[in-house]
C-alpha cells in the first residue's frame, strides 16, 4: 500500500500540471471545478495543493485569469489557457504518447514472456 502510494505520488508529480492544462484547455474553468475534476480522476489527493500549482502556471504565462460575475453575485476567477500553455500541452501530449506506449510495451513484454 505504501509502495502504491509512493509510486502514484511520484507519477502524479510529473504529469499533474499538464492534466491541469488539459482541463483548462477544454474551456475556461473555475478553480473548484479544476480541483474536483482532478480529484475525481484520482490525480489530486489534497485539493488545496492545486492552488500553488495554478499560481505558478499563471506566473509562468501558461494560464491567465479573468473575472466574471457569478450567480451568487460575487466575482469569480476563471482560468484560461494562453498560447504558450497550449503549446506546452501539445508538446506534452506528444511526449506522453511515446512515453506511455514505451512503458506499456515494456511492461507487456516482461509480463507476457516475450522479451
Amino acid at each position: 500500500m505504501v509502495l502504491n502510494d509512493t509510486v502514484s505520488t511520484n507519477l502524479r508529480k510529473g504529469v499533474l500540471e499538464y492534466c491541469v492544462l488539459a482541463l483548462i484547455g477544454r474551456g475556461e474553468m473555475y478553480g473548484l471545478d479544476i480541483a474536483n475534476g482532478l480529484q475525481r480522476r484520482g490525480l489530486l489527493t489534497s485539493e488545496g495543493t492545486l492552488y500553488p500549482l495554478l499560481a505558478r502556471l499563471r506566473r509562468n504565462g501558461l494560464v491567465e485569469t479573468s473575472w466574471r460575475e457569478s450567480a451568487q453575485g460575487a466575482p469569480r476567477r476563471y482560468y484560461t489557457l494562453t498560447a504558450t500553455g497550449q503549446e506546452s500541452l501539445t508538446a506534452f501530449a506528444s511526449i506522453w504518447e511515446t512515453f506511455s506506449t514505451a512503458v506499456s510495451d515494456t511492461l507487456d513484454s516482461s509480463t507476457g514472456g516475450t522479451p
Binding site: 508529480k13 500540471e17 473555475y30 478553480g31 473548484l32 480541483a35 480529484q39 489527493t45 489534497s46 485539493e47 488545496g48 495543493t49 492545486l50 492552488y51 500553488p52 500549482l53 495554478l54 499560481a55 505558478r56 499563471r58 506566473r59 457569478s70 451568487q72 460575487a74 469569480r76 476567477r77
Partner: protein, 210 residues
C-alpha cells in the same frame, strides 16, 4: 451560505494556512490564499458538502505547503547549471615572469645574488617547461657575466697564448679558437636571447597552465 466561510472552522484553517505560507513571497502566498478562500466559498455555496468535508478535501495546511515546495524547486536548482569550474591552478604572475627574465641575465650584477634569485624564479615559476628551465640555467650560468667569462676569460684555459701573443689570446675565443669577435659577441647575446624567449613564452602562457 456565504456566511459559512466566516465559520471558526474555516477561519482557523485559513489562519493556519497563512501562517504556513508566511515565508513565501507576499504575492505568491496571497494568490494561494485567495484561491483556497474562493474554493471554500464556492464549495459552501454549492451546498453539497459540509464545511468539514470541504476542508478535509483541501488537505492540511502542511499538505498545501508541501505541494508548494514540491512544485517549486529551490531557486538555486532553477539556475542554469554552471560549468564546473576547474580548480584554479597556481599561476606565476606576469611580474614574476618579467622579474625572472631580467634577473637571469643581469641579476649577477646585483651583488651577485640577483642571478640566484632569477634562477629561483625560473625553477619556481609555473609558466615554463622543464627543458626551458634547463636551457635558462645552462645558457649561461651567471647570466651576462657568465657568458662574458665563457667568451673571453675561461678559467679552465690559460688566457695567455703559449706563444706569448697575449693580445691575440684575449680577443680570440680560447674555447672555440678562431671564432673571432663577432661570434664571441653572438655568444654573449645568448643569455639575452634566452631571456627574451622565456619572457615571450612566459607571457603567452599567462592564461593557462603550462
Amino acid at each position: 451560505m456565504k456566511h459559512a466561510t466566516d465559520s471558526p472552522e474555516v477561519g482557523n484553517y485559513l489562519a493556519a494556512l497563512e501562517a504556513r505560507l508566511a515565508h513565501l513571497p507576499a504575492d505568491q502566498s496571497e494568490e494561494i490564499l485567495f484561491g483556497v478562500r474562493e474554493h471554500i466559498a464556492e464549495a459552501m455555496a454549492r451546498g453539497s458538502q459540509s464545511t468539514a468535508e470541504v476542508i478535509a478535501s483541501l488537505g492540511s495546511p502542511d499538505d498545501v505547503l508541501t505541494g508548494y515546495l514540491a512544485d517549486t524547486p529551490p531557486p538555486v536548482l532553477q539556475q542554469p547549471i554552471a560549468p564546473p569550474t576547474a580548480p584554479q591552478n597556481y599561476q606565476s604572475s606576469t611580474l614574476w615572469v618579467v622579474a625572472t627574465v631580467i634577473l637571469l641575465p643581469f641579476g649577477v650584477f646585483l651583488a651577485g645574488i640577483g642571478y640566484l634569485f632569477g634562477l629561483a624564479g625560473l625553477w619556481m615559476g609555473t609558466r615554463w617547461k622543464l627543458w626551458e628551465k634547463i636551457m635558462g640555467t645552462l645558457l649561461f650560468p651567471g647570466g651576462m657575466l657568465g657568458a662574458f667569462h665563457a667568451t673571453f676569460m675561461p678559467f679552465w684555459v690559460a688566457p695567455v697564448s703559449v706563444r706569448g701573443d697575449t693580445a691575440e689570446a684575449t680577443i680570440s675565443n680560447p674555447v672555440l679558437p678562431g671564432m673571432g669577435l663577432i661570434a664571441g659577441v653572438a655568444m654573449m647575446c645568448l643569455p639575452i636571447i634566452v631571456a627574451v624567449y622565456l619572457l615571450v613564452v612566459g607571457l603567452r602562457r599567462g592564461g593557462k597552465q603550462p
